[in-house]
Amino acid sequence: MHVDTLHAGRPAAIALRRSRAFNPTLYAFALPATLLFVVFIAYPIVWVAGQSVYTKSNAAEAIFAGLGNYRSVLTDPTFWIVVRNMALWGVITIPVQMLVGGLLAYFIERHTNALRGFFRTMFFLPVVTSVSVVSLVWVQIYAPYYGIAQEYLKHVGIVMTNSAIGDPKTAIYALIVVNIWQWTGFSMLMYIAGIANLPSEVLDAARIDGARGWRLAVHVIVPMLAPATKSLLLLGVIGTLQTFPIVHLMTGGGPNRASEVFGTFIFKQSFVLGDTGSGAALSVIVLVVALVLSLVQIALLGARLSPAAKGRAS
């Protein structure tokens, strides 16, 4: 038993869990978060939703447009390019980051010792690197003729004829590579936290049972990392939809919209073209899509209990 819980001072006036039939004071735990949300997020969301049903020409009056903005956005071919790009982005970056991050976390945590802190730091560096730097450097890497990759590839006889971000067919993939490079450290860190949280006696028990190395990793550790994986998936989907600075700085969504994502599309509509109505409509669409995807995830994945919690009452 934990000593401090034995010596819990005052007798409990509030019993846990069984009497959750209304103890309103407990809601105080949820209050600050809700308050922050209502003031700083709910109001802006409502504002944006409101904006989305008006069109604003350069004259000051806003004309009620009903669903007009939504219709024009959904029939814009660029919208469907964006959807395709976002699907590619999510489908490629999330699993790859999880896999590479997980592998790195596993090997660093369990197979290094003195250098553990060093590796943890170095692989995390790209995450803290400013996006301006990342974009400038990667544009340089991709540049043929005078770029960094070309400089070193010429020693093996490869001559680049184009920049990966300058070709409409490959632009989005080139950006995805940059994204993976930058954010894998985040997945790694999440898994490091997860591994650090693993109760060692479960691992010991499994090892005694004969599970070793590979078997131990796949059948014991991976399932126990479920909370980390679930969080990564949820955050990954949401984060994908939010992508903006890296695309804006590297390709601006081009060439000719080939690498357009929601973030850049909204930016162009609202800030460059001055069409706040359709920018707002896009934002609402993004919000709805994200919400649906998240609810689906929570419903499907939330129901699965992780093995570590097998013994508990629901």
């Binding site: 959750r20 949820a30 944006v48 290094t112 990342v134 650090a196 949280n197 955050l235 919690a309």
Partner: protein, 277 residues
């Protein structure tokens, strides 16, 4: 007799592979630091290392900007935000995962929507809101919106980790007569310490590097945070990539230092989170 034992060989191979991957992974970082140390003449030379090395860029950046005061601004805003986010998110996660209060799941999903609205769209209404509160060019004008934006992330992580924690401990606490607060403070928080560390680091980084909102809210130069400083070196016609990379390196250093210090807590978590019979 010195035979290379299997574990030792495996460890060697693993280290070698890690270093190899790291080497390729670090190319952009190395380039970044290298450009910061270059003269403009060589700024965009494709080689990873050039000679000579100059510290002029760092000197320029430090001379051009009152970095001390700006650093303080960033620090105040970031520390306050991190404190609020960790506190508020853990309280909420506790209510949702352990107390399982009615309606918190719904609230959880709602709060999740925070992360889903593109920041570009939030900027305008937030600007209006802050103007109405009179919080433009104040610390609190940044701290509170940052906290509101950061709590959902923390809540996702902490909820997941709290749910995964062995429930026997909470039962034990209840049996011992702990009230909700004591359970939160003495049981829940220590159990998810690695996750707390993670949220702390993450929120620190996000807030430290946040740029868009800082740009809108802080228009007076005395109030500016570090992230605004690089802008002057990447302007349309007047570009000084060496100085840009130098200042961005400077901004990243506190983050790296913090991370190095804090990541050791993950190891300690291994021992602290264990459940003994």
């Amino acid at each position: 007799m010195r035979t290379l034992t299997r574990p030792a060989l495996r460890s060697f191979v693993i280290h070698a592979v890690l270093f190899l991957v790291l080497g390729i992974w670090m190319v952009p970082q190395v380039y970044m630091i290298s450009v910061g140390l270059r003269t403009p003449a060589q700024a965009f030379d494709p080689q990873l290392f050039t000679w000579p090395v100059t510290f002029q860029n760092f000197a320029t950046v430090i001379r051009d900007n009152p970095l001390g005061g700006i650093f303080l601004n960033s620090l105040i805003v970031t520390v306050a935000t991190v404190a609020i986010v960790v506190a508020v998110a853990s309280l909420f996660a506790f209510a949702c995962a352990i107390l399982k209060l009615k309606g918190t799941m719904f609230l959880y999903a709602t709060l999740l929507t925070t992360l889903m609205v593109p920041l570009a769209s939030l900027v305008l209404p937030l600007a209006i809101l802050l103007k109405n509160f009179g919080w433009v060019n104040t610390y609190i004008g940044l701290i509170l919106p940052y906290s509101a934006l950061g709590v959902p992330f923390g809540m996702v992580i902490l909820k997941a980790f709290m749910e995964d924690a062995p429930k026997e401990l909470f039962e034990a606490a209840r049996v011992d007569g702990c009230n909700a607060w004591q359970t939160y403070w003495h049981v829940a928080l220590p159990l998810v310490r690695p996750a707390l560390v993670f949220v702390t680091i993450w929120q620190f980084i996000v807030t430290w590097n946040e740029f868009f909102l800082a740009l809108i809210v802080l228009t007076k130069s005395e109030m500016k945070t570090l992230t605004i400083v690089p802008m002057q070196y990447s302007g349309l016609y007047m570009a000084n990539p060496g100085a840009l990379f130098a200042v961005l390196t400077i901004i990243a250093i506190p983050l790296i230092l913090l991370y190095v210090l804090v990541q050791r807590a993950f190891a300690r978590g291994l021992l602290a989170g264990a459940v003994k019979g």
